[in-house]
Symmetry: C2
């Protein structure tokens, strides 16, 4: 049974220049394969302090995963310090060194000597190739402790972990499996969600139940401990079913896909196109659609109608509606959605108008948002929201709720009236 | 002189459910006031392991900042474990408890007993009020070690740190000051930037010089150690001046403001309005403008012209241009910028069209991007870029470079010809 610990090496972390997202990524991956992590530790580019941290880690953990300090400069000293604590030597890995030399040759760049350092490995190591950079990763087992050395840049670290390190760890690991299943909810806050299943949470045992709010969604992670995956799943299933029944209205998926991806997949499956007119969200809905590869066949485009002039001239919101009802109104949201549908000639159009603050406008409260949804041949529906929080939070939440309504609509949980739709 | 250490408490961190952004925030603030942080440590909601980590921290650090585990539930045990290691008792802080009671009374909610826990403090503590939540923070000095206890949620932790903890630490701190100045660059990669000042970096002493790439920008942090701020600044100034002279074309600001904010401030100062037509960036430019409060007077809006049909129908790119040159072409970028200027009636319009991948289109390479810039009464300029990386990276970098060109334009470093503008 592994007891894991992550050691991040880098003064930039201690200065707060970057967040230790590597520790999160590695922890998450370890949780997924059932390896418990008991500590994260961060230390600067200092050999003495690093050795002290390693000696301590060896006493309490039998899987130590390092990240950072594998590069070519003098500051990079993770392998060197660790080798000292193991009384092992560093040797050159010829295969890795040839790759480094080829890299420089192909680019016609002179290779400085310090690059050789990136191909040095501790005696007896397994090599983990670096698909995105030059510093090689390694794994080794010394005195019943397993060590893994990963580079610091996330774009190098992640593929190395996923493709080489996880299979290596699994090979050296035996015992119980922790198997997790993640249920995803939106349109409901964490507290309200918890309240509806508090009795289930209170009597949790195996599986454990961990709700977490993040970015406008709430996830529930069910983690069961069992000899194999099938047994773990059979423990998870009844709890999952019970939670689903109570929270069906908000439970949009299981796994890693967020609501944007789920909406996109559903639109694609049903061959529906969509467009958006965004005022308060300023392009967030477009950004979220277009971050998905292949989205141009579904999301045809949008208007960021940040000024009233554009709402009127480009999207034909009648001037008297803007004058009497205001840009943040039921009527404007309705006109925006309908005229966006016309302009973009899509199957569905969504509009979002509101007040993000910090200044109130039109003598209306900060956080007031209207979302309009127009569909070919159907009655347009408009929903009024009252959000609170910072400017960024209100903008981001308004975009998230727009996707929640789209999801509800697409799931035909709603009827074509204002009340029942929302 | 303080030797600082941050201890984050929470099993959710070890499971990778969230990143330890608190450690970054606290470290950054400590660096700003010259308090060095030598370690970050993360431990789960487990009393024994937490006590072990505290006992170790006491041996190597004399300022220990905790974050997390101050809440009402049984899992929240940071103060309890720490009090044990100090042989001190927890006592009720009546003022904090009254605030908690008032909170529940105002909302007509029954207060469960466990909320009292959030007002319990270690004997001899200074109280740090929580402006955003119920769990009180504390600071105390026991056996020459200073302890600070902060809540885990960032929105509670940050204002408490800024308003109460930093003044408290400063009061207990004396000695040399570390003073930092941050120079910001964009339009140049970290490696190319370093190359231009490698001689300065190599002979660094006081101030130290730390380049860091993040999100399409490169910062250089100059940190000087001196008795006071004036002396630190006098050490920093000559180095700063030399670096500026060498990298003037990319040096857009000092401090915390990113290029988007600088462009926005400059447009505002000069009373210029702007609009954007975004294809490859899918709304990123709009999102970045509208994340700034008060942006509607400057950024009037934009079109997310994600499909060719919208480029033609809404933005009047001639069909024969789209047919013969393609949507990703010099000519399309030019037409988009010019017609956006007309449609939105702004002083400046920018257009971005390109291929983000992972599929190539129009038999053109992934990463090919055209940025157009049109201004009332001036010749439109178009720049061709060749980017590489993932889909997200190319989109985000294209948006960042659009802001870089805007900045260059606004700084009149460019002439009105295609060549010299870029």
């Amino acid at each position: 049974m592994f007891k894991g610990e992550i050691i991040a090496v880098g003064t930039e972390l201690l200065l707060g220049q970057i967040a230790n997202t590597n520790a999160q990524y590695i922890s998450k991956k370890m949780a997924e394969i059932g390896v418990p992590i008991f500590y994260h530790h961060t230390v600067g580019d200092n050999s003495d302090r690093l050795k002290e941290v390693i000696l301590q880690a060896k006493k309490r953990s039998n899987l130590i995963i390092f990240t950072g300090g594998l590069g070519p400069t003098q500051d990079d000293l993770t392998k060197e310090a660790a080798a000292e604590t193991m009384n092992r030597k560093l040797i050159l890995d010829e295969v890795s060194f040839n790759k480094i030399k080829a890299f420089f040759q192909q680019r016609n760049i002179f290779m400085t000597d310090n690059n050789k350092k990136q191909a040095m490995v501790i005696e007896g190591s397994t090599i983990f190739p670096n698909l995105q950079g030059l510093a090689v990763g390694i794994g080794l087992n010394v005195d019943r402790v397993h060590y893994v050395f990963l580079p610091g840049p996330p774009r190098e670290m992640k593929p190395m972990l996923d493709q080489y390190v996880i299979p290596w760890i699994k090979k050296h690991y035996s015992g119980f499996t922790f198997f997790s299943k993640v249920m995803r909810f939106t349109g409901i806050g964490e507290a309200a969600l918890e309240e509806q299943i508090i009795d289930i949470i209170n009597k949790q045992d195996n599986p454990t139940i961990a709700p977490l709010a993040n970015n406008g969604e709430v996830t529930i992670r069910l983690t069961a401990k069992a000899e194999d995956e099938a047994k773990a799943l059979s423990l998870i299933h009844p709890i999952e079913k019970e939670i689903h029944q109570r929270l069906e209205d908000y439970h949009f998926a299981n796994g890693e896909d967020n609501i944007e991806q789920i909406v996109f997949d559903t639109l694609k499956e049903r061959k529906l196109t969509i467009s958006a007119s965004e005022s308060i969200t300023g392009g967030l809905i477009g950004t979220r659609f277009t971050s998905i590869s292949g989205s141009s066949s579904i999301y045809r485009g949008g208007i960021i109608c940040y000024s009233n002039d554009i709402k009127h001239r480009v999207l034909q919101v009648p001037q008297n509606v803007l004058n009497t009802k205001g840009a943040v109104s039921f009527e404007t949201a309705k006109a925006l959605a309908e005229n966006t549908l016309q302009l973009f000639q899509t199957d569905i159009a969504i509009s979002v108008t509101g007040i993000a603050g910090p200044e109130a406008v039109e003598e209306k409260p900060i956080g007031l948002v209207y979302i309009g949804l127009s569909e070919v041949g159907k009655q347009t529906v408009v929903k009024e929201l009252h959000l609170s929080g910072s400017r960024d939070f209100i903008q981001s939440r308004a975009a998230k709720i727009a996707f929640y309504y789209l999801w509800k609509k697409l799931n035909e949980r709603c009827k074509e009236t204002n009340e029942s739709f929302f």
